[in-house]
Amino acid sequence: MYKLKTLVIALLISTVAIAQSGYKVGDIATDFKLENVDGKMVSLSDYNQAKGYIVIFTCNTCPFSVAYEDRVIALNKKYESQGYPVIAIMPNNPAASPGDSMEAMKARSKAKGYTFPYLMDKNQEIYPQYGASKTPHVYVLQKVKKGNKVKYIGAIDDNYQHPDSVNQKYVENAVDALLAGNPIKETHTRALGCTIKI
């Protein structure tokens, strides 16, 4: 009986640990059905023609996210037509971060002219599955038979302050490699970001 108890506890602990760590490169990522700023529900599976996705957890309020807004727009402009659309997901709880309410998201999307969906992870159930710990946090997915495979996790590039001084465009390098059928050189990078507000 004691052994069983220990086993159950060990199992529980390992489940929690897995839930916290999120996806690693090579894992199959979950699809979702989240509300967009236009009021419609959006899923990855809506994109029949897509070869993959650039999923970006981002928000209105984090200065790092704001610094990258124009570069996220540019990513969608460059890659949507090539089969890798940007899907932006706002993971914060608006009660803890009022500047990230659906109304505020709508306003930002309109003001910046977002050409990609800007979804709210309303129940805060998607970002923990992906393992996003901050905004911005990027997951490049490739559509394969089994589902959407995680091919890259991390930063957009290596200079959050000065777009003109970027040396490594991590996300572009990853998507370019996928489009060319080449291995991705850097599959995991890190960058500063704001904690997700729960």
């Binding site: 200065p63 971060s97 710990s133 901050k134 946090h137 991390g154 930063a155 290596d158 200079n159 959050y160 302050q161 000065h162 001084s165 040396n167 490594q168 991590y170 990078t189 890190r190 960058a191 500063l192 970001g193 704001c194 904690t195 997700i196 507000k197």
Partner: protein, 172 residues
Amino acid sequence: MRYIFFLLVLVMVSCKNETKEVLDSSLNTDSKDIDLEIQDFSGIEKYLYTTTDKTYVVNFWATWCAPCIKELPYFEDINKNYSNKNVDVILVSLDFPHVYETKLKPFIRKNNLKSKVVVLNDMDSNSWIPKVHEDWSGAIPATLIFNKNERKFFERAFTYNELEHEIKQFLK
């Protein structure tokens, strides 16, 4: 009529000058006497290791980061309450350079921060984040506690009691 117009312009000009002066002087008082230590990661690294008997609490924060600002007083309290127990607090600001004068310095002055404040300005975060700690994804607030024997990293916010509890483990 012309005379009135001239007078109006005169009033407008003088008002404008006055506002400007008031703004400038308030800015000067706010940032007076604060000499920011701004470093790239190689300049920060010396604060992340020790060979002495001291315990260091290094907190990564920024003025725009709400959970950081909320927990900052606890780090200040630790700095005060544990200074005689060989504990040093270092606050590493990750504020952007364009707010050093307008936000960071006024914040330090207004809150009368007693802990050592260092500013880290290093773009290539992918290379230095894992050097702070392998477990850090890059989100702030983040805190590193270490002495010459061990180090522990936290990508989370603290209450005073939680922070004190972790520090006490290093003083045993």
